[in-house]
Symmetry: C2
Subunit: 454 residues, 2 copies
Amino acid sequence: MEKITKILLSENEMPRQWYNIMADMPNKPLPPLNPATGKPVGPEDLSVIFPMELIKQEVSTERYIDIPDEVLDLYRTFRPSPLYRARNLEKALGTKSKIYYKYEGGNYSGSHKANTAIPQAYYNKMEGVRRITTETGAGQWGSAMSFACNHFGLDLLVFMVRVSYNQKPGRKLMMNTYNARVVPSPSTMTAAGRSVLEADPDSPGSLGIAISEAMEIAAQDPYTKYALGSVLNHVILHQTIIGQEAMIQMEMAGDYPDVVIGCFGGGSNFSGISFPFLRENFVNGKKTRLVAIEPASCPKLTKGKFTYDFGDQSGMTPLLPMYTLGHNFIPDKIHAGGLRYHGAGVLVSQLRKDGFVEAKAKFQRECFEAAILFARSEGILPAPESSYAIAGALDEARRADLEGVSKTILFNLSGHGHFDITAYEKYFEGNLPDHEATTEEINQSLVNSAVPTF
Amino acid sequence: MEKITKILLSENEMPRQWYNIMADMPNKPLPPLNPATGKPVGPEDLSVIFPMELIKQEVSTERYIDIPDEVLDLYRTFRPSPLYRARNLEKALGTKSKIYYKYEGGNYSGSHKANTAIPQAYYNKMEGVRRITTETGAGQWGSAMSFACNHFGLDLLVFMVRVSYNQKPGRKLMMNTYNARVVPSPSTMTAAGRSVLEADPDSPGSLGIAISEAMEIAAQDPYTKYALGSVLNHVILHQTIIGQEAMIQMEMAGDYPDVVIGCFGGGSNFSGISFPFLRENFVNGKKTRLVAIEPASCPKLTKGKFTYDFGDQSGMTPLLPMYTLGHNFIPDKIHAGGLRYHGAGVLVSQLRKDGFVEAKAKFQRECFEAAILFARSEGILPAPESSYAIAGALDEARRADLEGVSKTILFNLSGHGHFDITAYEKYFEGNLPDHEATTEEINQSLVNSAVPTF
């Protein structure tokens, strides 16, 4: 191949199985606990809100799990996704390092969320479910789920975090176009929402609150189940197709990453691109570093505590062993709505605890600067979430240059920012602060947050 | 190959030359005329506003023209573009026909406009130009040109048609992100704009007016040139990469189109996908139909007159032999801003006159209905412009089913609608009329429009 810019795979080169890191982790994660009994939850505890096939995947230790044909059929409309060599970005930086990015924004939903929306809708449909409820932050997950549910003939109700609902009206309309109903959260539809609104009628909402609302509705009806867009093991499993493709593509490029980077909300896009490379570390003695970039205003991996905590705001989920800021933590209203989550998924938390995952927190202005440099050089307008990964990649390149070495850097460009353009507007107007809250408010909210200890 | 959903080409399968239909047309188009002398314009007449290389391409009769390496390098970041078999749309329709679409919305600009923006910026840069002025309707062309100019180190000033400027604020912000300056047109910056505003301070603007403004600025400074996003021969030349790729991809799919469809503004995306297939009609006896779909409120191909007319509102361009509604025609404020142009490019006009191109006019509500059916089945949210092509494809499939036959239909999905989502909002609110003006107003504006006769 002459000068490689992007590496494409054909449909028949697409992996037919998801990779399950559970099979290769040195220390398996602690079990989720039933908060009432303090004992590990069983499948029956979860079957109220999830279909059985996803519960099986949640606890599976099989290394590879087959992707159903119906899911592969829809994957084929947008997968394999391209891997790019960021030649123009490298030039703009003047770096000696090689920067690659896997672009997950080219599908209908505009982000990696489609990778798990499709199997989740599929398994629910197969088990006779009629309606799904879910949460969404910036709306990428909600969009992904809307199309998937419509495709498989399921109704969908989306609780969209209020601050994002107001910041990104286009996302709501996109979900409507795909036939979904969208409600700003906290809402008056649920007890969870009403209790938040009583305490703070102007609550901006959070993913934790929206999850509580969606779960509450799902628990009321046997034909309604709940779907989660990140955090859980089965979600991360579905996202590993990203890293498996990237592995083939890097080989085609004749390269191998020294570092793999993803932005970090609950962990799904980060895990999706990095876990297949982590397996190579575990099994084949590779030394690739995994770096998660989280918002400074929602710093669970860098400032949170590893403990059992709820996955949602009102305590409806099992207790999960994870890095958390406390399930009551209300993150600052940054534009990267998808990163406004108080905890880290169980798998990443265990791996972080065991020293296999690095983490770094960044303020949003630096990330927007990175996003604009990226847009002007590579063309693609990144989602605010993905801008954290870009900023992380720039750090790695700059550090390598200072050290006089050349690194191979791979990051996940998890989505496009076409529906987040008002954030860019604020930036150009000089009105995009590092965070909306003051540092004192942020510190106070960390102190106030309820990290339970068991 | 098992079940084909999309057909990808690798970078080294990308065509290295553009195809020039001028070489194969039975009747060459009439020459553009200097309005002052009534004589054919020469290169020197055009050199005030265009670089010489583009002027050469404008009049070239060479069949194939080499794509420069610097252009190929940037093309590689998004080309070859995918060709899809619309299996889910076929299923939703229950049609026996096969529907394929070439998707040009996957690049940075979100439309086919990048294909000509890049070479236009490149040739200008090579000839020492420092600044470019241009017009844009819905903003796809402006976005495409913004990134291209920034890449090659050129300043860009965009006159954006006012109605689109107000309808689609995201597009302006995207152009700003790519470093361009954007002014709503008609503006007070130019004599052309001021004279329109004097007559109608609330003028919604039109592509014709915006072209006048951009040309007026370019004509004032030797280091400033003007770039046009459609209509002209060199623009259409650059877009033929679409059809050339589609030809290879259809062959890989083991199919050949009975009909090729594109939406129609000035003609560039329609010509880009269809001209390579038309060559097969001319040279190899194929019988593919070419169908252009235009808005009922801007129906130059179906209701316009074939005559010499200006390409812009205030009469700054040479007189072009084309189907036109008159250069003073102000189209209704439909959401497909890119189709609001009074004339058809010279090449398409001649081919239409000679019976090689069919045309059909459609109202916008039918096109939005087609777009929503498409989004729900195929996932991609189409640009309002592209929705006209979809509606045209649905017509063909339905007609074939009525006739009991199966056709192979190929259309150009010229762009995505992520920045046009307010149009979808209006549709869902029940507020998207077929046209904003009344039928009487439209007929009156057709009567009032100034089609000159020479």
